[in-house]
């Protein structure tokens, strides 16, 4: 079956509004369009994160996102979906991930977007480093990320 999800890894900042507008084109049969934007947030703590760095292995990282997209397409009747993920260094306030899901009915679009984000947060072949001024730490998924993913097992 042909994949209906547009997938892109972007090494440069992307314009989420332009991507959302383009995503809505040509899907008149969709009654629901859900778009989600994740961005690097500013922390209100001492020594806050100043940027994230996402290391990736291009072919394998893309394949890991394709597997998640294929599972979502098999589970919900999506008319179209889209995953854009940043790689490289992402500054505070910049988009890190865009997900769009279009379906005939809203529940399918909401659930598919939620599912995609839960798996993107835990299963994608990315290695994330939090940069805090002059220091940096590689991080692993939080327990909450695994818990979020388990919601979809039933």
């Amino acid at each position: 079956m042909t994949r209906r999800t547009i997938i892109e890894l972007s090494a440069q900042p992307f314009d989420a509004d332009a991507i959302a507008a383009a995503f809505r084109q040509g899907i008149e049969e969709a009654g629901a369009v859900v778009t989600f934007l994740g961005q690097v947030s500013r922390e209100e703590v001492d020594n806050p994160v100043t940027a994230l760095h996402l290391d990736h292995k291009p072919e394998a990282t893309l394949a890991s996102i394709e597997r998640i997209a294929d599972n979502a397409e098999a589970r919900w009747p999506l008319i179209k979906s889209c995953i854009i993920h940043r790689v490289g260094t992402v500054q505070i306030g910049q988009p890190i991930v865009f997900v769009g899901c279009a379906a005939r009915h809203r529940r399918d679009a909401f659930e598919a977007a939620d599912y995609l984000m839960d798996f993107l947060k835990s299963d994608v072949l990315l290695w994330k480093k939090e940069i805090r001024g002059e220091t940096a730490d590689w991080i692993e998924p939080r327990q909450q990320d695994y818990t979020d993913k388990k919601r979809w097992e039933s």
């Binding site: 994740g38 994608v124 692993e140």
Partner: protein
């Protein structure tokens, strides 16, 4: 043989790739043992169960033979996006 590293492993090594691994290493486990000796900064992360061997972009077991692989990589536990 050429081996590539990602995430914290590349940082610890100070390089994305290594070209000095001997070509006669047979399996991923042999490569892991050689790396732990030749590059001691990798010894602890190589012993971590989350550190995996990738051959031709597929995560695989350490006992797999290396000879057919065109792309050999060692990856730490993924963080997700």
């Amino acid at each position: 043989m050429r081996v590539s590293f990602f995430g914290r492993l590349a940082d610890l090594l100070g390089s994305r790739t290594l070209d000095d691994a001997p070509d006669d290493l047979t399996t991923g486990a042999d490569l892991r043992d050689w790396l732990a000796q030749a590059h001691p900064q990798l010894r602890d992360p190589l012993a971590h169960s989350g550190t995996r061997l990738m051959l031709d972009n597929e995560i695989t077991d350490w006992h797999m033979p290396l000879r057919e692989a065109e792309d050999i990589a060692i990856i730490p536990i993924v963080s997700g996006g």
